[in-house]
């Protein structure tokens, strides 16, 4: 490799964190700048540290929250915690004990910043361009929206980072996804990323780090960019990244953990150099025109099984997996999805629980009612977002429409905290996975944007939000 090689954003962040470079025989030792932890994927890692009598090497670079198995009804006592079951309650208590014992900052029930791990990192300004960020959660790719290299790891690796602040990694291949054109009214970042996954497939990004680029991305705000990067993993990608720009810097400026004063200027200078060099080469490139996109909805049991909302459930070659997916979803090829009656609508998750997501849903629901027989749950991504939304009166719009307004958490995205979709029920969800049983045993999930979710709640069937705009 010559010194004059033009480098991508990923390659710049990668090489800036090499403690030891990779060789044929050994992976690289990659330094981690921010380790986010939550209650579900850490207890076994802390147990390893305890048995080896090791401390957390850099508690100052480690940040904890409670989100996955944590109830979204108010928790004041242990009894409240048991809403999600005894094991979940114990797991939350274990997290509190572990963080206390190892000196890790935890955003506990009394913190304004408690919330979904991928919401609070950016909200605190801890997520920054050029950082390496990991968490025992695959949607860590969210933080790539800031030009960070951020990816999910397993619990063994959580232990590695707790003990050494490093990971053993092989360099990934690079994949540019260029999105151009102006989005039509009613079409959002969620629809864009669903369309991308539909195009490249749920394994289209395997072994790669995706860089999202193009004018559609440039004109998106940070919350939209996070939605796009969040679902990189649904295309199988190791991470998703977006080069930082003034939108990124404006978002971060003044946040608690962002650099201040002279350090801020130095940081911005450094961040400005992170964008991929002109003519940098990628291993793979795909482009997508966004101007003719419609709101997108999934019809199957993985996020790649996706269609425009006004299209019929597509025909297929008849593979067993495809047939199995349609049977599970109780849907038929050639029929419109919009006829399917909906039981549950969920607005929330690390994909779509930020203030603009809630505003988009509220704008459609304002002055309208959730259809009879539909249960709608709106779950803000953090307590801060909950407060911000309440300051804008959004909670009143939701509750007046007949929706439930909750405390922050992962909630119905993954059915392990007391919030679940019932057996056989159809859910329109702003979350990221429509896997069989993801939202509860036998639950059928249609992934959609917050606008589509709100429109579907009003009509009681999968509905096009554009008629409400």
């Amino acid at each position: 490799m010559s010194n004059t090689k033009r480098r991508t954003l990923y390659e710049k962040v990668w090489s800036d964190h090499l403690v030891v470079d990779e060789s044929r025989d050994t992976p690289a030792i990659l330094y981690i700048d921010l380790h986010l932890i939550h209650e579900v994927t850490t207890p076994q890692a802390f147990s390893v540290l305890r048995s080896l009598e090791l401390p957390v090497r850099r508690p100052d670079l480690t940040l904890g929250t409670l989100d996955h198995s944590t109830p979204t009804l108010p928790v004041r006592t242990f009894k409240d915690l048991q809403i999600a079951g005894n094991d979940a309650a114990n797991q939350v208590r274990k997290m509190q004990q572990n963080c206390q014992e190892f000196g890790v900052e935890l955003h506990d029930f009394d913190s304004i910043h408690r919330g979904i791990v991928h919401v609070i990192g950016p909200e605190l300004g801890a997520t920054q361009p050029g950082k390496t960020i990991v968490c025992g959660d695959s949607h860590t790719s969210t933080h790539g929206a800031f030009g960070a290299l951020a990816f999910g790891i397993g619990t063994t690796e959580v232990g590695h980072v707790l003990a050494t602040q490093c990971l053993l990694q092989r360099k990934a291949r690079t994949f540019a996804v260029e999105i151009s054109g102006q989005l039509a009214h009613g079409v959002t970042a969620k629809d864009v990323v669903l369309a991308i996954i539909g195009k490249i497939g749920v394994d289209g990004g395997t072994g790669h780090v995706i860089e999202f680029c193009g004018d559609t991305i440039r004109s998106m705000g940070m919350e939209s960019r996070m939605t796009v990067c969040n679902m990189s993993i649904e295309a199988g990608a190791r991470a998703g990244m977006i080069a930082p720009d003034t939108t990124t810097f404006e978002y971060l400026k003044g946040r608690d953990n962002a650099p201040q004063g002279a350090a801020w200027k130095r940081a911005v200078n450094r961040w400005q150099a992170l964008a991929s060099d002109t003519d940098a080469a990628y291993d793979k490139t795909v482009s997508l025109s966004a101007s003719d996109l419609a709101p997108m909805v999934t019809f199957g049991t993985n996020p790649g099984m996706v269609v425009p909302i006004d299209a019929d459930v597509p025909h297929h070659d008849g593979s067993t997996s495809y047939k199995k997916a349609l049977d599970y979803m109780q849907l038929e090829s050639g029929k419109p999805l919009s006829q399917s009656p909906v039981d549950v609508v969920f607005v929330g998750s690390c994909t779509n629980s930020r203030l603009t997501d809630l505003q988009e849903a509220a704008n459609i629901l304002e002055g309208r009612k959730v259809a009879d027989g539909v249960r709608m749950l709106v779950v803000p991504g953090s307590q801060q977002i909950k407060n911000d939304a309440e300051a804008l009166g959004l909670h009143k719009i939701f509750t007046a429409a007949g929706a439930e307004w909750r405390e922050s958490g992962c909630s119905m995205c993954l059915g392990m905290n007391g919030d679940t979709v019932g057996q056989g029920q159809l859910s329109v969800s702003t979350s990221n996975r429509n896997f069989e049983g993801r939202q509860g045993v036998g639950a059928r999930t249609v992934l959609a944007s917050p606008m589509t979710a709100a429109a579907s709640a009003i009509e009681g069937r999968v509905a096009d939000p554009r008629r409400y705009l």
Partner: protein, 207 residues
């Protein structure tokens, strides 16, 4: 290459794996995700043990909790099988290490597919579960011949089929070394603590 991997007293040893011979069990579905391997509601545990009973829970059991006779892993012929052959893109979805823990606890020691998701592969290797990627022709043969007795040789990275035909599979040399020697990678990282300290000291900006 073994010289620069030093085991550490503080590492958790894995059982070394050199050769795995077993009859196969087949799950031909593509994109089998981690929520199928182990549903989220079983992730409220704080230990690694005992997850095997929840493996493929939604597919494996009927609503009354009894075994689903149509599920491949419940077939009498599949009993004791240690090699799972699955459709393309096995293990996609979440980063939960509970997925390889559940497979291992059930008795599965290798997964063969045409593609295995990145995080699942990484998690598997750290627990001694072999994630093996083969080409479509070998994969098709395996799917068509459930219960075939095959051998996976970690040292030579070769699979031997019942007719003695062999094929090689790709594996990272470091991962292979760790499997063969039963090395936990934390020990390897800890041996580089001086490098880590130096890196922290000399870097041009601090996180």
């Amino acid at each position: 290459m073994r010289t620069h991997v030093v085991t550490s007293d503080t590492s958790i040893p894995m059982k070394p794996i050199k050769i795995l011979t077993s009859n196969t069990v087949i799950l031909p579905s593509t994109d089998i995700d981690t929520d199928q391997i182990i549903p989220a509601r079983f992730l409220t545990t704080t230990t690694r043990e005992g997850l095997g009973k929840h493996l493929f829970s939604e597919w494996r059991y009927l609503k009354d909790g009894s075994d689903n006779p149509d599920f491949a892993l419940n077939a009498p012929a599949a009993k004791g099988s240690e090699i799972l052959v699955a459709g393309n893109n096995f293990g996609c979805g979440s980063s939960r290490e509970h997925a390889p823990w559940a497979l291992l606890d059930f008795g599965i020691k290798a997964v063969i597919s045409t593609e295995i998701a990145d995080i699942f592969r990484s998690n598997s290797l750290k627990n001694g579960l072999l994630p093996i990627v083969v080409g479509p022709s070998v994969h098709d043969w395996l799917l068509d011949n459930p219960g075939a007795s095959i051998s996976i040789d970690v040292e030579t990275s070769k699979i031997t089929l019942p007719n003695n035909e062999q094929c090689t599979y790709p594996i990272d040399s470091f991962a292979r070394h760790c499997l063969l020697e039963g090395i936990d990678q934390l020990g390897f990282l800890q041996n580089h603590i001086t490098d880590i300290e130096k890196f922290e000291e000399k870097r041009s900006w601090k996180p």
